[in-house]
Symmetry: C2
Subunit: 132 residues, 2 copies
DNA sequence: TCTATATTTAGACATTGTCAAACATTTTTC
DNA sequence: GAAAAATGTTTGACAATGTCTAAATATAGA
């Protein structure tokens, strides 16, 4: 029935009301939000939740590979519900972060970096998003 | 004579003692240091310099294109005296950041991102550096 | 129910970064 | 050249992000 409950249980996470509020919110959006932005939104559903619980829950979801923490903005980590490999474009005027599908770009040459074992990579692009 | 003095003057930066201490230090190293790491080192030459002045000076050097601020670590910007285009490898165990020459990798496909005007890009690789 | 374990919470703390006001220097006026 | 004004620089105080601890609550198992 509730797929988020089973998603959490499969990873051994007890679905408390606070964790459900955070998970339902973060898995229901596509954007890249900071912990405090998540707190602000979740408080409307669950007004008594504490800052520490939001940080704890987000970090737990990252540890269990249901979320990815991305270092894309100055000053704060953002949490990404897209855990597949992909790239990011950052609008330098607005700070908005856009997902770029993995297949849209091709990176070559990393196999010949003899001194580095590469576990993952991504391209970070910066510029201006063109108004449609 | 003093090449850092003229470097600053060429960009219209008054070479105050505090700015000289920061500039001489940051242009004398290659690594990717945070503002507070710079402060700690510069204090040995110039013990009374304030944290705000170090931040101001580093940000001024970024504005004048003598340094580049890079978002590579959680929690802090790092300052890069290598202002040429290049990529970065981050050792996930040590946190150490390594420069990857621009020519070592090739990225293709960004021209076909029709909704984005790309001003710059870099590849960020994570993994383990192999002990030589 | 009773007990052990797990979770939440508020607040203290550490670190990173910004800002308005104090201070210093340069330029203008007389 | 001295005084005043404008401009430039530095700084301590403050804000924002994130972690930690210990006490209170909630949950699960016997
Ligand atoms: Mn974290
Ligand atoms: Mn900055
Ligand atoms: Zn993403
Ligand atoms: Zn670099």
């Amino acid at each position: 029935m509730n797929s988020i409950v089973s998603m959490l249980r499969e990873r051994g996470i007890q679905p408390t009301p606070q964790r459900m509020a955070v998970a339902e919110f973060i898995f229901g959006i596509k954007s890249h939000l900071s912990a405090d932005q998540v707190l602000e939104q979740v408080r409307s559903k669950c007004p008594t939740i504490s800052r520490a619980t939001v940080y704890n829950t987000l970090n737990l979801l990252v540890e269990k590979k249901l979320l990815k923490a991305q270092v894309l903005k100055e000053g704060t980590v953002v949490f990404d519900s897209n855990v597949q490999q992909h790239h990011h474009f950052i609008d330098e005027e607005t700070g908005e972060i856009y997902d770029i599908p993995w297949e849209a770009l091709r990176v070559t040459g990393e196999k010949s970096l003899r001194n580095f074992r590469v576990r993952e990579l991504q391209v970070i692009l910066r510029g201006k998003r063109i108004k449609k």
